[in-house]
């Protein structure tokens, strides 16, 4: 297998596949759109062509059958129906799997036999609409006549008028052995060319133009002769109107063209100067302008290996760190040097510019992320017997490629989950006084340096008591922990590993990705996950991601003598700790932020040093995060840092990576969410010993 070609083929094939899926879904509402039919056909055709060069024989035959079906649809030999769309969509999934195998360096195995059979039968017109795979196939008794086979023969014979002409003959053949009758052999082709042109070559009409072969000169006489020989003086006995019509149409067009050519004196070279022929040609190709625009767009786009982009990203990261160190070093110079300061400022600005430019290189529209969703909704709603309309907003909003890549599985899961658990059956909805058809809305919203992606439905909402009960049953939390949970915390249990409200893993929402994976993915992308649910009205899950993964603004803080960092994105504000606002509630320390908000306290001293911070005897400052108030010794200041992953830590820990501070020291970056979760799970009184047990588990 040619690896170089494979590297080209895979991304292009995937694009084709995505487009084919979109198109197929469009056919559902617009089954007679010839343009879309042709586009799907072409996708299979092109996939097949490429697969042939890769010697992926099973992919070739799989795409061939689909191509065959689409060919019949495109020519209106068959009319598309729901079961065909199903089969095509499932066929696309198989191709996707095969591409996956190719990507792993394997030659794809055969596709599922039953589906393959079905597609072939559909293409043969053997299955009528509404007939299930296992049901009786009535139409089998009266198979539609196969497209008639025929042979075309071309020979040179005198016409009725006694002039030389071409004779095209079509003989109907009863044979249905397609390949034997339909395919042309090399010898036959050569014979055809001989018949058409004698010993001359196409485009070369007589001896006089042999000199012109490599020049661009042409005489009107010569052109006339070509027209005469190829299209004029038609032979009698054209029995196939389908062929004569386009040919004769062409001939009139060509004659017109010939008539418009400049006078015979014009025999100079026309290669460099604009000539009437050019305008003439553009008349033949009316869509030239739109295509020219498309071409412009195509040529300004460059396909770059993602690994190279990542390398640039990393280098920019290093540059950012160096910039930080430079600023820090200049700051610590005893005397002020105007020149140095100015250079540092300019470096600062330039690095920022590079950073944002490189960041933009990695941005991709959310369209890529949303593309698969109509299909997900279609399949799941059919399977579950629910009625759903999907609304997609903000396809053009751009976000870091890493987010687009990583979020595809979780998005699918969120939708399936919403369909499975959130959306009620049409009957239930009606009984509840809602519209039969549910709405699921997927939206991407640009918010300054963040992008929010929301998945919301108008289903039944999440019952926090039900969720809590399930969580206790499944051993996700203890009954004691359950008693302490707030409403919101209870709802968020659905994101815990091991939690699934359905006893049997359904085909819809149980494909290996669970809500815990959604949450983990969001966390890894440094995003923030929120869930909002209203019983009877619906659920909305929103994810917020930083625009870029390249640079992480952090706040440096001190815990006794150690320096840590905390992502600025997770911080809401800084607080002075007031003792009278600290309360004990069911074994947890909580802090009353204002009249209404009470949040858990996260004592970094206890967690990291096994020695609680003592208010009054040592300095303590508070960092208010979304999930808890983190207590530290001192807040130092913020900086744009670059995250370096740490791979030697236990799977569960409180760090999301490390960075290098302006002073050149390695600093661990704390994960605010993990810290708060830990405190919620274990209460404030857990000792370091059972914490590390959990971490090692």
């Amino acid at each position: 297998m040619d690896m170089e070609i494979l590297q080209d083929y895979l991304p292009e094939a995937r694009e084709l596949l995505e487009k084919a899926q979109d198109d197929t879904l469009r056919l559902e509402s617009d089954p007679n759109n010839d343009e879309v039919l042709a586009s799907v056909f072409r996708a299979f055709h092109t996939l097949k062509g490429g697969a042939g060069f890769l010697e992926a024989d099973h992919l070739v035959s799989w795409t061939h059958h689909l191509e065959d079906l689409l060919d019949k649809l495109r020519s209106h030999t068959l009319v598309i129906n729901g079961s065909m769309i199903d089969a095509i969509l499932r066929g696309l999934d198989v191709i996707d799997d095969m591409l996956q195998q190719l990507a792993c360096g394997e030659n794809p195995g055969p596709g599922p036999e039953e589906l393959g059979q079905l597609i072939q039968e559909l293409a043969a017109g053997k299955r009528a609409e509404g007939v299930s795979v296992n049901g009786p196939i009535e139409s089998d008794a009266t198979p539609s006549p196969p497209p008639s086979e025929s042979m075309l023969l071309v020979s040179q014979r005198p016409t009725v008028a006694g002039e030389a002409g071409l004779f095209l003959e079509r003989t109907e053949s009863a044979s249905s052995s397609e390949t034997a009758a339909d395919e042309i052999t090399d010898a036959e082709f050569e014979a055809t060319l001989d018949a058409l042109y004698g010993n001359k070559a196409p485009g070369v009409t007589n001896a006089s133009d042999s000199e012109h072969l490599n020049s661009d000169e042409i005489s009107p006489e010569e052109f006339e002769q070509v027209l005469d020989q190829m299209y004029g003086k038609q032979a009698p006995g054209y029995e196939q109107p389908a062929l004569t019509t386009p040919v004769s149409a062409k001939s009139t067009e060509s004659e017109q063209a010939a008539a418009e050519i400049a006078p015979p004196t014009q025999s100079v070279s026309t290669t460099t100067s604009p000539s009437p022929e050019v305008t003439n040609a553009s008349k033949v190709t009316p869509p030239a302008r739109s295509a020219a625009a498309a071409q412009e767009a195509a040529e300004t786009t460059l396909r770059v290996d993602a690994a190279r982009l990542d390398a640039v990203m990393n280098q920019v990261g290093e540059l950012v760190l160096l910039r930080n160190r430079l600023s820090s070093a200049i700051g610590s110079l005893g005397e002020e040097n105007e020149d140095m300061l100015r250079i540092a400022r300019e470096v600062d600005i330039t690095v920022n510019d590079i950073q944002s430019t490189v960041m933009r290189l990695r941005m991709q529209p959310c369209k890529r992320l949303f593309q698969q969703l109509p299909r997900v909704v279609r399949d799941a709603s059919r399977q579950l017997g629910k009625e759903v309309t999907l609304e997609i907003v903000g396809e053009d909003v751009e976000i870091d490629k890493a987010v687009v890549d990583a979020l595809s599985g979780p998005m699918t899961h969120l939708l399936r989950n919403s369909l499975d658990h959130g959306v009620e059956s049409p009957a239930d909805r009606q009984a509840a006084g809602k519209a039969r058809s549910a709405k699921i809305r997927v939206a991407a919203i640009h918010l300054g340096d963040k992008v929010r992606i929301e998945v919301s439905d108008d289903g039944r909402g999440i019952d926090s008591q039900f969720v809590t009960r399930k969580a206790v049953d499944k051993g996700v939390i203890t009954a004691e922990q359950a008693a302490r949970l707030s409403e919101q915390e209870a709802v968020e249990l659905i994101f815990r590993p091991g939690f699934s409200t359905n006893d049997q893993v359904t085909d819809i929402s149980g494909r290996g990705v669970g809500m815990d994976v959604v949450k983990e993915t969001v966390r890894k992308l440094r995003g923030r996950l929120d869930i909002e649910t209203k019983p009877g009205l619906g659920t909305s899950i929103s994810m917020e991601f930083p625009l870029t993964m390249a640079v992480l603004p952090v706040l440096y803080l001190r815990l006794r003598r150690e320096i840590y960092a905390l992502p600025v994105s997770s911080i809401e504000s800084l607080l002075d700790i007031q003792e009278n606002r600290i309360h004990r509630m069911s074994g947890r320390s909580v802090y009353r932020v204002d009249g209404t908000e009470v949040i858990p306290m996260v004592d970094l001293g206890r967690l990291l040093h096994d020695r609680p911070l003592r208010l009054g005897s040592e300095p303590i400052e508070g960092i208010l995060t979304e999930r808890g108030l983190i207590m530290v010794s001192e807040v130092l200041g913020n900086e744009d840092s670059v995250v370096k992953p740490i791979d030697f830590l236990a799977e569960q820990n409180w760090y999301q990576g490390a960075t290098i501070s302006g002073k050149g020291n390695v600093v661990l970056i704390l994960d605010a969410g993990a810290l708060a979760n830990h405190v919620i799970d274990h209460g404030g009184d857990s000792t370091i010993i059972n914490i590390s047990c959990k971490g090692a588990a």
């Binding site: 025929s150 071309v154 060319l193 070559a201 196409p202 040609a281 033949v284 295509a291 020219a292």
Partner: protein
Amino acid sequence: MGIDQVDKGIHILVVDDFSTMRRIVRNLLRELGFSNFDEAEDGVQALQKLHGRPFDFVVSDWNMPNMQGIDLLRAIRSDPQLKHIPVLMVTAEAKRENILEAAQAGVNGYIVKPFTADTLKEKLDSVFKRLQAAQGGQ
């Protein structure tokens, strides 16, 4: 006679909507010693390129959006400025009806996907032999 006598510096336009396929064709042509290529995504773009500068050979896919290979061929043959350019059609199958239609429209040769450099060489060989015979027969 044949391809061995063809100047390997001739300008070849490779027309296909699938960039992987353009690359495959280019690679195979390069294996045969050719080195001057340009590419177009469909018939419309091909015609623009053909009018932009002289080409000596066109290798075109059959099935393309905007303008099919066969229509490109017809446009080339009906354009006095371009009609001398030999055209090799790349097709998915050797359907008699299609190939004869192409022959009618003035194709010089056809090649069925997938193909190897050897097959491509054979095909080019017969195309050029015919052209050379036409030149020699004056």
